[in-house]
């Protein structure tokens, strides 16, 4: 039989290719750009239907670059909302009506919008939020700090953490693919550290821009899309709010539990499209391990190089996903570890808490929540090395 090939195009006229082709096989060329520009390049190749924006430093640039894509015809619906609370609700409306939807925010904007995130998850819409982490008030800060991520951990959204602009580009594309799986279908928050990634330029490998992800098919969704093209969901015929009885409590509880179960079901997809939920760097035998995400893992990698000079073997376990948390991967990765450092860009150490929680009873290593910087401080590799040397009692050579 003669093989025939149907070539599909999306609304923007880009050739539709499989997620695997776009992410892993398409030829890539080298570009030099900021994290915000990487967001634009990802959205351009993601067959995005709708985006609603609201300005806040440092994400504004990414949000208005998506506006440019709307003018160029790559995004179907785009406008500026009234506040992050309004925007996240507008985004929800867009997604309920069957659109592949993306927006961005930072710090105080995240908190302003907070009530929406569990609603997104409970509504089972696969929207994507690119979160460019920044400090939260008070006192006023516009500087990099990822405290806000700690607040988002239990909203029922998937949370992925990108280290570089390259990570962010690939994660945005993979994010739609994983979030839209019918057996997942929950929101995904792709986090990146504001300024460090959003505003700095780095080399990034991009596939051509005349190919794109397959468009979102809302009729594969586990919940009826609100477009009057399918029968309405009558699942609220006896809504939970109206009855104070055990069945209503159980229904509400199982609904919320199912959202968490959906995040669990995202693991195999995320593993495939992110090429693993964690990444290893450094001497695989080293007893000194840094567990980190985002910019902290980038700095930890630098620290590993410095420690090598000191004659101390070390390694980094970078977490790409926080929800789902790579529990088994982390437990395997820290086998043989004696010291686990968790460097973080916030004052509370939410990642240290997570690491302790999941390693409890599974590792004899000493877990040290350090170094910790916040409010816009950078985390020079030397600061990380200093923490380590403090512990080992070794004399500090080229570290200030």
């Amino acid at each position: 039989m003669q093989a025939t090939e149907t070539i599909l195009y999306n609304r923007a006229g880009q050739r539709v290719v499989s997620p695997d082709y776009l992410l892993f096989e398409a030829p890539r060329t080298k570009h030099f750009m900021t994290g915000s520009e990487a967001v634009k390049e990802a959205v351009k190749r993601a067959s995005v239907d709708a985006s609603v924006s609201y300005p806040i430093t440092p994400q504004s640039e990414a949000a208005h670059l998506i506006g440019e894509l709307w003018v160029e015809g790559y995004v179907g619906v785009y406008f500026r909302g009234e506040s992050e609370f309004g925007v996240m609700s507008e985004i929800a409306g867009c997604a309920m009506a069957g659109a592949r939807t993306i927006t961005t925010t930072s710090g105080p904007g995240t908190l302003r919008a907070m009530e929406n995130f569990p609603m997104w998850a409970g509504t089972r819409i696969p929207v994507q939020l690119v979160l460019m982490a920044r400090g939260v008030n008070s006192p006023l800060s516009i500087q990099p700090d990822n405290l806000e991520v700690g607040f988002l951990l239990d909203t029922g959204c998937m949370i992925w953490y990108a280290e570089t602009a390259q990570d962010l580009f690939d994660m945005i594309l993979a994010g739609f693919v994983v979030a839209e799986q019918p057996d997942v279908h929950v929101p995904v928050i792709t986090v990146v550290d504001g300024f460090f990634v959003s505003h700095t330029r780095e080399a990034i490998m991009l596939p051509p821009d005349d190919i794109a992800l397959p468009p979102y098919n809302p009729y594969r969704a586990p919940m009826p899309v609100i477009d009057a093209e399918v029968p309405p969901g009558r699942f609220l015929r006896d809504p939970f709010v109206m009855k104070s009885n055990y069945i209503s409590y159980a229904t509400h509880a199982s609904w919320q539990w199912e959202v968490r179960a959906a995040i669990e079901r995202s693991r195999p997809y995320a593993k495939h499209y992110l090429r693993g939920l964690i990444e290893h760097f450094g001497d695989p035998e080293a007893e000194l391990v840094f567990v980190a995400c985002g910019t902290a893992s980038a700095q930890a990698k630098e620290a590993v190089r410095l420690l090598e000079d000191e004659g101390i073997p070390a390694r980094v376990v970078k977490l790409k996903t926080i929800r789902p948390f790579p529990i088994e991967e982390l437990r395997q990765a820290v086998k043989g570890a004696k010291y686990i450092f968790v460097p973080e860009f916030n004052v509370v150490g939410w990642l240290e808490r997570e690491v302790r929680r999941y390693l409890y009873g599974h590792s004899n290593a000493e877990i040290i929540g350090a170094p910790r910087v916040a409010g816009g401080m950078t985390m020079p590799a030397e600061v990380i090395v200093k923490e380590v040397l403090k512990l080992t009692g070794k004399e500090v050579k080229h570290v200030i």
Binding site: A228, D238, P239
Partner: protein
């Protein structure tokens, strides 16, 4: 698509409850001339209401649902409050999202539907109480007017937070004693119909629901204008008989009394809206 989505698979029909079969066979679909006069003879799109006996809001909901010109392609967006107890009983696509974000959600839905289905009419109608529309949701309500979203916003004004047990709202009349206003409300009722005009609504009406025919006319005008021109706003007085100490058969009298004073019929339309209304009248749809 069409009301065909309400057709039941023949093989499964014998297992379906009567009210679902009635929806297919006896409800008024595909007829823009449908109205409140059909109420006694056809299957209503609201199955039953779960509000208090004699609640005027339940009357309003029945009249509105009987008046929608395009129910098969109408999305209802609601908010938290007494109204949220009724939406599960409505046969159409309904959304309950959060308290106060109804006009933001409706904006997103309307814009995407307009983009996904450029050749079809999809009406988006917001139904919410006075607390949702004017207090907690004021920002989202007004901003949707400013942005000229093509949605119809209907406010059920009972002048109180009824579902939470009778607290003062921005639409409570000055001096009225409610919970959280133990000395009586200290400031005037917000004239939201006027604010809606100043904020860019193309059709605004204020009325009680004492006259079903009048409600039908207003709802149809508001929806036709929203479809073509921009935001429209309908302010309905639906008193909470429970919180103002009336019996279940007093609602109609209460509304009739207010018809003569602070809820006397008021209507505003822009020239573009008037054009649409006149045309629809000529087509025999009003």
């Amino acid at each position: 698509m069409s009301y065909k989505i309400y057709d039941i698979n023949e093989d499964l029909k014998e297992f379906m409850p009567k009210e679902i079969i009635d929806l297919e066979e006896r409800a008024t679909w595909g007829n823009p001339k449908r109205g409140v006069m059909d109420l006694p003879y056809t299957k209503e799109l609201i199955e039953e209401h779960s509000l208090c006996a004699g609640c005027p809001e339940s009357m309003a909901l029945r009249y509105i649902l009987a008046s929608l010109p395009n129910p098969e392609d109408t999305i209802i967006v609601n908010s938290t409050g007494c109204t949220s107890l009724v939406f599960p009983h409505i046969a159409l696509h309904t959304v309950h999202s959060l308290f106060g974000n109804q006009n933001a959600v409706a904006s997103g839905i309307k814009r995407v539907l307009e983009w996904r289905f450029p050749d079809k009419v999809k009406d988006v109608v917001v139904l919410a109480g006075d607390g949702a529309t004017v207090d907690i949701g004021l920002d989202c309500t007004l901003q949707s007017f400013f942005r000229q979203e093509k949605i119809t916003t209907i406010c059920f004004d009972n002048e109180v937070y009824a579902n939470t047990g009778g607290q003062e709202s921005g639409l409570t009349v000055k001096g009225h004693v409610f919970k959280m206003a133990p000395k009586g409300k200290q400031w005037d009722k917000v004239p939201f119909w006027q604010i809606a005009i100043d904020s860019g609504c193309h059709y605004v009406a204020r009325l009680t629901v004492s006259s079903p025919k009048k409600v039908e006319q207003v709802i149809k005008k508001a929806i036709y204008v929203a479809r073509e021109v921009g935001p429209t706003y309908v302010h309905l007085y639906t008193p909470c008989i429970l919180e103002i100490g009336l019996n279940s058969d007093d609602g109609l009298d209460e509304m009739r009394a207010r018809d003569k004073e602070r809820f006397s019929f008021f209507e505003y339309m822009t020239p573009q809206a008037e054009e649409v209304i006149n045309r629809v009248k000529e087509e025999g749809l009003l």
